[in-house]
Amino acid sequence: MGRARKSKPGSRRAAHPPSTLSHLREGEQGVLDRLELSLEEAQRMMELGFVPGARVTAAGSAPGGDPRVYRVDGSEIALRRETAACLKLRRPMSHRTA
């Protein structure tokens, strides 16, 4: 990333690694584990690149952080927080930490 991410001092997340897309802050990335959506909605998301195993990077957002743009599979897709919260990330121990 060419751009330093804005991290607040005293980040309390060291103990709780991001578990869904909505927990990723700008510049952070994670690996998608599963989509907790209805079959139809999950299908749509997968067509856009949100397949389990895909690496997702959080990018810019509307003011207030919702909706946020995510980089996945070579494109940028904006999701509302409520949807991003349904996309669960893989535990960092099975993958490198962000």
Binding site: G2, R3, L37, E40, E41, Q43, R44, M45, M46, E47, L48, G49, V51, P52, G53, A59, G60, S61, A62, P63, G64, D66, P67, V69, D73, G74, S75, E76, I77, A78, L79, R80, E82, T83, C86
Partner: protein, 632 residues
């Protein structure tokens, strides 16, 4: 064979051995591709102005067809199918694309061949659509678009091996720059193209992860090197999506658009006005005094001419909307606006149809097809006519110019006139938002569907695409001026000349038109309108801008338009409060037959358009009443 560019040593078109097929009467080729892949740009490049828009029967999906002509006189018919990510049949868009390709669409026969457009800068994901399309077995040319972008960002792909793996010819083009299109034309001209023969087993199409695996294999088999991230898009987004600068830029863009509608378009408007006046004067000089001259000058020239004057302002507005949309900024604007939309229970996806409702509610209501949730779609249809469509602009522009003195508000950035116009636009938007809130919390309550929107990389808008937009808009506007407005102007002129009194034309108050106006006068007097405005309101039930034409005709008959402009004439009939009331009335009222007709068709019942008409007219009446009493 093509103006090959130096990026790849392989030719832009790789064809497996040709097979000869019997020729059909007129070759029909379908264009298929995911959204944002440059499908429309390619379609425009190939067909130019030889295109028309129709509707698939039974559904709201727009069908664009165009003709490609070859030097030897042969023609190929192109049909641009809606952009889809897959051929599953969840939305109407996908259903139509699917039905056309399998030959199940009543209106369009099964195409002879397919142009599958994919964005070469994101090939592996876009190949997801290739699997189901190629599985149809139609002769297919896989067109990899955005070649210039791919090259600039150091991406590459081996076309030969991609073609081998897909079993279909592949062309690398840049539709925006017109690069590599010879290969596409060659494919279109080919009387017989080989049907697809797949060497690789196509994956189970409904299983997306498996399909994605297949796409990755094809990509790596073709030595696909994904391009570097779009640097400029990242840089621009850092500003446009900045927590503070983002909304400020959004606001300045909106203000700049409105200010330029008044400031930048003024010389053009004056030019058109002068042209119309001079032509009218010349015709009047040629014709002998009599009925024909009166009809032509007062009826037609006064009516139609006073509407046509507003063409430059409409075009300036559409130039801006076109630049915003083609550059990719509109998607960011939708992102910034999503929170507001969510608050009223709508989704960001409703934002795009609502933006296009600024042009005209009719295509906007058709564009609601992208909203999968039926109730959300219904709510969007019902609020779309509140958005300030371009037919309102002539009414606003006339009244603002006549009643609002121009004074700078924020230095040279924003004047009182642009601010008034902006206020009217916001008023319409507010009415839409409040109505949506009401609908979504009562009769159209529904679960929220996920909001998903792709952010395309920023691109320079092409002159060609902007030109086509302006051409289309002018065509629609002038056609309406030549049909609806001309018709109403003639009918009105006749109604204003009968019944004859002792063989003479009656004073306009006693004519049929005058009687109609005076009949509705008691109803509209509380809003500050007299009987002349009443005639305008009744006639503008057909279309909003008709009121300008009607007033042009009426004042033309009173002989006032001879010396003074329509603006000066209307100042005698309205107070400033009445003028503001009239603008508020038009901000809210559903004065448009075409919109009612399209709502009737979309909702398949008269209930919704009737409800919509009654509701909007009531809101308009109350709004105008309040405005009149506040401002006078």
């Amino acid at each position: 064979m093509s103006d090959c560019h130096g990026c790849s040593p392989s030719p832009t078109l790789v064809t497996p051995s040709p097979v000869t097929l019997p020729q059909k009467a007129r070759r029909l080729v379908a264009i298929v591709g995911p959204p944002n892949c440059g499908k429309s740009t390619l379609f425009n490049q190939l067909t130019g102005l030889r295109q028309k828009v129709a509707n698939f029967p039974g559904v709201t999906v727009e069908q664009r067809t165009g003709t490609v002509r070859f030097d030897d006189g042969r023609k190929v018919l192109l049909v641009d199918l809606p952009g889809t990510y897959s051929l599953s049949t969840r939305s109407e868009d996908e259903q139509v694309t699917h039905d056309v390709l399998v030959g199940r669409c009543e209106d369009v026969r099964r195409p002879d061949a397919v142009l599958l457009i994919l964005d070469s800068t994101n090939l592996e994901r876009q190949l997801l659509l290739a699997a189901p399309v190629l599985a149809q077995g139609l002769p297919t040319l896989v067109v990899l678009n955005m070649a210039d972008d791919l090259r600039r960002r150091y991406g590459s792909v081996d076309l030969k091996s991609l073609s081998r793996q897909l079993g279909a010819p592949v062309a690398l083009v840049s539709a925006a720059r017109g690069e590599g299109l010879d290969a596409v034309r060659e494919f279109l001209a080919g009387e017989a193209s080989p049907p697809v023969r797949t060497l690789v087993e196509l994956p189970i199409i409904t299983d997306v992860p498996k399909c994605r695996m297949w796409a990755r294999q094809v990509g790596s088999g073709a030595n696909y090197r994904a391009p570097a991230p779009p640097l400029w898009t990242r840089r621009l987004d850092a500003a446009f999506l900045h927590p503070m600068w983002g909304p400020l830029i959004f606001l300045s863009v909106v203000l700049a658009v409105f200010q330029s509608v008044f400031v930048a378009a003024v010389p053009l408007t004056n030019g058109v006005q002068a042209l119309i006046d001079r032509a009218g004067g010349a015709v009047a000089g040629w014709l002998p005094e009599g009925v024909l001259r009166s009809l032509l000058i007062e009826g037609v020239w006064g009516g139609v001419g006073s509407v046509i004057v507003f063409l430059p302002q409409i075009l300036v507005l559409f130039l801006f909307i076109g630049v915003l949309e083609d550059s990719g900024y509109l998607a960011r604007a939708a992102l910034i606006a999503d929170r507001t939309m969510a608050k009223v229970g709508l989704q960001g996806k409703s934002f795009i149809p609502l933006i296009s409702a600024y042009a005209c509610a009719v295509p906007a209501i058709m564009a609601t097809r992208t909203i999968e949730n039926k109730r959300d779609r219904m709510a969007t249809i019902l609020i779309a006519p509140f958005m300030t469509c371009s037919a309102r602009l002539p009414v606003y522009a006339l009244l603002i110019a006549a009643f609002i003195p121009e004074r700078p508000l924020v230095g040279p950035l924003l004047g009182t006139r642009a601010a008034t116009l902006l206020g009217l636009y916001m008023l319409g938007f507010l009415a839409a938002v409040v109505t949506a809130r009401l609908l979504k919390s009562s009769i159209l309550k529904s679960h929220r569907t996920p909001f998903v929107m792709e952010m395309p990389p920023y691109r320079w808008p092409t002159l060609r695409s902007l030109g086509l937009r302006l051409y289309d808009r002018s065509k629609v506007f002038l056609r309406r001026a030549g049909t609806v407005i001309l018709g109403v102007a003639i009918v009105l002129w006749i109604l204003a000349h009968v019944p004859l009194q002792d063989g003479k034309v009656p004073p306009i108050e006693d004519s049929v038109a005058g009687t109609i106006g005076r009949t509705v006068e008691p109803l509209i007097r509380p809003l500050g309108f007299n009987w002349k405005i009443g005639i305008g309101l009744v006639s503008s039930l057909a279309a909003r801008e008709v009121i300008v034409g009607t007033l042009g005709t009426i004042y033309g008959m009173e002989g006032k338009a001879e010396n003074s402009s329509l603006q000066a004439a209307i100042q005698k009939d309205l107070t400033t409060g009445g003028a503001i009331a009239l603008m508020v009335f038009f901000a809210f009222a559903m004065q448009c037959m075409s919109t009612l007709a399209v709502v009737r068709r979309e909702t398949a019942s008269w209930k919704w358009p009737a409800l919509q008409f009654a509701y909007m007219t009531t809101v308009a009446y109350i709004g105008a009443f309040l405005a009149y009493h506040i401002f006078s």
